[in-house]
Point group: C2
Chain length 85, copies 2
Amino acid sequence: MTYETIIGIAAGTFTSAAMLPQLIKVIKTKETADLSITMICVLITGVSLWVYYGFLQNEIPIILSNAFSVLVNLTLLIFWFVFRK
Amino acid sequence: MTYETIIGIAAGTFTSAAMLPQLIKVIKTKETADLSITMICVLITGVSLWVYYGFLQNEIPIILSNAFSVLVNLTLLIFWFVFRK
């Protein structure tokens, strides 16, 4: 594995995992008032397009990391509506 | 430009732009209590690594889109501390 590949995998892991602590915070506090619903929707559109791109290029790491992001952000979207005041 | 490239550029544009509405919401409401600081820091680490990866691979679109994300998320980080109660 090249140095570039390792940096790429590290970068992808961080950006894919970033929304997980946000989701955990929302589940704990049941508060979503300060979260932008536009941000969540734009992000879901973007990571879904990355999954599609991964399929087009047949790149499993892109598919897996972004499919994980789609799941996390869809869950965040559901909780956003559940906890909306 | 191939179909794959267009999908990739669209995906990158959406994921890079996603945090912009969140930043605008924070500036408008001055409220950040529900935002996860861990999420912001992990995201900054991830997109910074993508910028570095872009330099290693000499891919201008990766450098530019992720440098934009670094800027947006650093600004969000600053406002998180400014508006912290």
